[in-house]
């Protein structure tokens, strides 16, 4: 049962699924944090909608993780707390702060997915067709969230560029660690 590893590069696929799973898990927690603060505001339904999409993403990666027999990152509890704190913290800066956080994170994730797509295409687009399809779809979803964030005045958030840079640095570190640990 399950997906046959065949001639696929198991280590590469493992890293990809592990880090993507961690990413979607973190994104879930970020939106949960934002909802905790802004859930009953005007922007609540919008955040809820984006959160629902992330839940779908996480569900998909849970399935892939079992199918490809990949181990999850040990850092999940940390991403659990850090994600929630980031979401709630940015939401406390107001609706624009939450949107700025969304823009920063979704931009990081989209770039990350693009890198993975490039890697898989270089390896063998046919062998990794299913995985490529999933990642491409999710990348498009994340870009959509990014654009929604921009539409809702993310750029007018207090200290927007500082916030954005800090968050994206954090994302880079999280990605680096989750691939390996």
């Amino acid at each position: 049962g399950g997906v046959s590893a065949g001639a696929t590069n198991a280590a590469l696929v493992g890293r990809i699924i592990r880090v993507d799973h961690a990413g979607e898990y973190g994104a879930n927690r970020i939106y949960a944090g934002q909802m905790a603060v802004l859930g009953r505001s005007a922007v609540g339904p919008l955040i809820q909608q984006m959160w629902n999409q992330e839940k779908e993403h996480l569900k998909k990666f849970n399935e892939l993780m079992v199918a490809y027999r990949v181990r999850p990152t040990v850092l999940l509890p940390i991403w659990n707390v850090a994600g929630f704190v980031l979401g709630a913290g940015s939401a406390l800066l107001g609706k624009k702060g939450a949107m700025a956080c969304t823009v920063a994170v979704e931009e990081s994730i989209s770039n990350h997915y693009n890198n993975q797509i490039r890697t898989l295409m270089e390896e063998d687009p046919e062998k990794y067709r299913e995985l490529l399809q999933v990642i491409k779809q999710f990348r498009d979803d994340e870009l959509e969230h990014h654009d929604i964030g921009l539409e809702h005045n993310a750029e007018s958030a207090p200290a927007y560029s500082v916030l954005k840079t800090a968050i994206q640095l954090g994302c880079k570190a999280a990605i680096f660690l989750s691939e390996r640990i």
Binding site: R69, V74, P77
Partner: protein, 300 residues
């Protein structure tokens, strides 16, 4: 030749033995350029039935001669040969222990000189690792078979507890023929230069067992389950090497108790978690009520 090489690499199956033989074939191919055109189609296969008009007798397999591109194409890779020697050596372990002597005896039964044992470390490391790897493969096949039978509806699906017990028992029973010398094997596996390999073998075996047990965890449970099962396996192994009861029944009883304890702990933890969650929900409800009563909860 340029066009063939990259394509051949992509289709190379991951098994090291086959990669090794492909690499060796490439070397021997460079010595035989002219008939290459017609045989290029078959070079993707694992063992090409070659077009060479060799008259090699098909009796005992030719031994490793190291003569570049001169052997026939059913030349086996060094790794395959090593596997055969180690498998043959297992028969001599009860007498000679996990050692170079056993390997030398094994080599002799294959018609090779005892000096073939020189291919290996003289502490018996490869022999033990080979045996463990073989046992793990056998276990995986067993579990795969069982899974097929369950899928076809020919056997009942076991409870997780029963499944883990049976899988560990099956795996430990493979040690029985070598149980006298097993303490020596354990100490060999714990040698610093063997630890990466032995740890790898242990973790992949435990992961296999959980996979077939139907584990679908994608959080920290993934780690705790494997850690717990590894602990159970190791302690049961230690009990087994000191067990003198008929058919190791003390060991199996020990195993049964440990697995039951683990399942018990898991259930208790689940109960605690759900009680805790219920408590938290109760407190949140109380807090919201207080906020409502004091008018702090009004939407602005």
């Amino acid at each position: 030749m340029e066009a063939e090489a990259p394509v051949r690499c992509q289709l190379c199956p991951p098994q090291r033995a086959l990669q090794a033989s492909a690499a060796l074939r490439r070397v021997s191919d460079e010595h035989k350029k002219e008939p290459a055109a017609s045989s290029s189609q078959h070079q993707f296969d694992s063992h090409p039935t070659d077009q060479q008009p060799e008259q090699e007798p098909q009796g005992p397999r030719p031994s490793y001669t190291g003569q570049g591109g001169q052997e026939s194409e059913d030349y086996e890779s060094e790794e395959q040969l090593q596997h055969r020697i180690l498998t043959a050596a297992l028969e001599f372990v009860p007498e000679h222990g996990w050692s170079a002597e056993a390997i030398a005896e094994g080599a002799k039964t294959l018609g090779l000189s005892a000096a073939a044992a020189g291919m290996f470390h003289n502490d018996g490391s490869e022999l033990v690792l080979h045996f463990v790897s073989q046992c793990n493969t056998e276990l995986s096949e067993l579990l795969e078979q069982e899974q097929k039978l369950v899928q076809l509806g020919e056997t009942e699906k076991k409870t997780t507890e029963q499944f883990l017990r049976d899988a560990l028992e099956a795996r430990l029973r493979m040690l029985i023929p070598y149980i006298e010398k097993w303490p020596q094997a354990i100490s060999i596996l714990l040698l610093p230069h063997n630890i990466p390999s032995s740890l790898n073998l242990l973790t992949s075996m435990i992961d296999d067992i959980w996979h077939y047990a139907g584990d679908q965890s994608t959080d920290l449970n993934w780690y705790t389950r494997r850690a717990v099962l590894t602990g159970i396996y190791n302690t049961t192994e230690l009990v087994m090497i000191q067990d003198t009861s008929p058919d190791f029944e003390d060991t199996w009883r020990f195993l049964e108790n440990r697995v039951a304890d683990a399942v018990n702990m898991h259930n208790t933890a689940k109960q605690i978690k759900s009680t805790g969650e219920a408590l938290v929900q109760g407190l949140m409800g109380a807090a919201v009520t207080v906020k409502n009563l004091s008018g702090l909860n009004q939407r602005r």
